[in-house]
Subunit: 253 residues, 2 copies
């Protein structure tokens, strides 16, 4: 039986600093919002606050760009030091366009500027935030701490906004996951007429990430986390990396 | 102030048949679920029921495949009559893989098999459903009827599930929209530190479509519509076609 799904914004988190215990801050904010975690809840946390808690910050003044970064920066019109940081986070540059490098990150995500971003970091243009070094591990750490505190079987996602081919507008995607199957496998299930469904797999964690993104808006430190209640999901746990399609299985690379 | 968002599954719709008044059926189901539409609600309707109400059904026995369809069908291992139908809905075939044609549809969507699907149609393998001929117009028609009945300023989306490059699993996307801006433009907005946001646009209707898809699951006739309450959105109305990125602005075509 499908029931209604509720997306609760989690507010009131203080500005997160390197070394902060993010699970503790989230638990306090949940309590302040009169929410207690229950089995089956999914807590979606914005990438930016995870990166900051983990100290994934770089001061551009400390960066010496390579010749390759200087050259690429001139072509796309970006700060060479920022390009150096982006290249350091990337396996490959797939496309370039003025102001943007589309890269495959070391984590395997294909996104703009390797997820490196000035905005909402430390109040100083000179600092940039990188993606978490291992977002699945970050999600697992937060999940373990929340389970310890609450006793509830919850899932944790870390979301970010990625642009896409063919369609305008960035949408929320999951870059880290714990306690939830990344993809729902519908193969073998039957439709209302008893025939096998044609669609095979559903990107469950990305649909959850997009739903949470609706509530976070872009000001992701005002609403840095969203509690999703009422979605059924499988709990076999392969992390968000299970969503990454192998290059050999991808028709658009 | 961000408030919680609630996704209500709309159940109890009868199996939809060609010629049915979909808005009337939806209004009856809403009433049966004790839901009345309010200003700012978004009703997301599954593509399949829209297509069926509009009679977008083709019996394969009535289809004579062209030589091109026969050839392509042999290469990908599909029914030549089905391939003929898919080609009839397509501007271009972008990629092929056994069992799947990735096409640009006449409507401009890039998706598998032009959205033509056997499943959940008429209980007979011989019939396939096409996408609505003009999903933005379909959404506008349903919206106008619901506004007439309820007096509420609602938005209507039609969603489908599309596969994506780079990531496994299909996710909900909006193929039709009325009463809502397809993309939220954040350019010029400021972050918590008073600096301009880097991210420029958000695919609002696709995030809504993905959220609704979570509630519908794949059995999209069991939950053929979802009422989304609590999301703020702009109402300037360009239809879902405004999400389509022009080929010249797309780095992955």
């Amino acid at each position: 039986m499908t029931t209604r799904v509720v997306l609760h914004p989690i507010r009131g988190l203080p500005l997160v600093r390197p070394g902060d215990d993010l699970a503790e801050l989230l638990a306090a904010s949940l309590a302040a919002d009169d929410l207690s975690l229950a089995d089956g809840d999914v807590l979606v946390v914005a990438q930016k606050v995870v990166s900051k808690a983990e100290g994934r910050l770089v001061r551009l003044a400390d960066v010496t760009p390579s010749a390759a970064a200087v050259d690429l920066a001139a072509r796309v019109g970006k700060d060479p030091r920022l390009v150096e940081v982006i290249l350091g986070e990337s396996r490959a540059v797939l496309r370039t366009v003025p102001g943007v490098l589309i890269v495959e990150t070391r984590l395997g995500f294909i996104c703009a500027n390797a997820g490196v971003d000035h905005s909402n970091v430390a109040g100083d243009e000179e600092w940039v935030a990188l993606l978490p070094a291992d977002p699945d591990a970050s999600a697992a750490t937060v999940r373990a701490a929340l389970r310890r505190r609450s006793g509830a079987e919850v899932a944790v996602l870390i979301n970010d906004s990625h642009g896409r081919p063919w369609r305008e507008g960035a949408v929320g995607v999951a870059i880290g996951a714990a306690g939830i199957a990344a993809v729902a496998d519908l193969r073998g299930r039957l439709d209302l007429y008893g025939r096998p469904l044609r669609a095979t797999t559903v990107g469950t964690i990305d649909e959850l990430a997009a739903a949470a993104s609706l509530v976070m808006g872009q000001a992701d430190e005002a609403v840095p986390a969203v509690l999703v209640r009422g979605v059924a999901f499988a709990t076999d746990d392969g992390g968000a990396r299970a969503v990454q399609r192998a290059a050999g299985r991808d028709l658009f690379r």
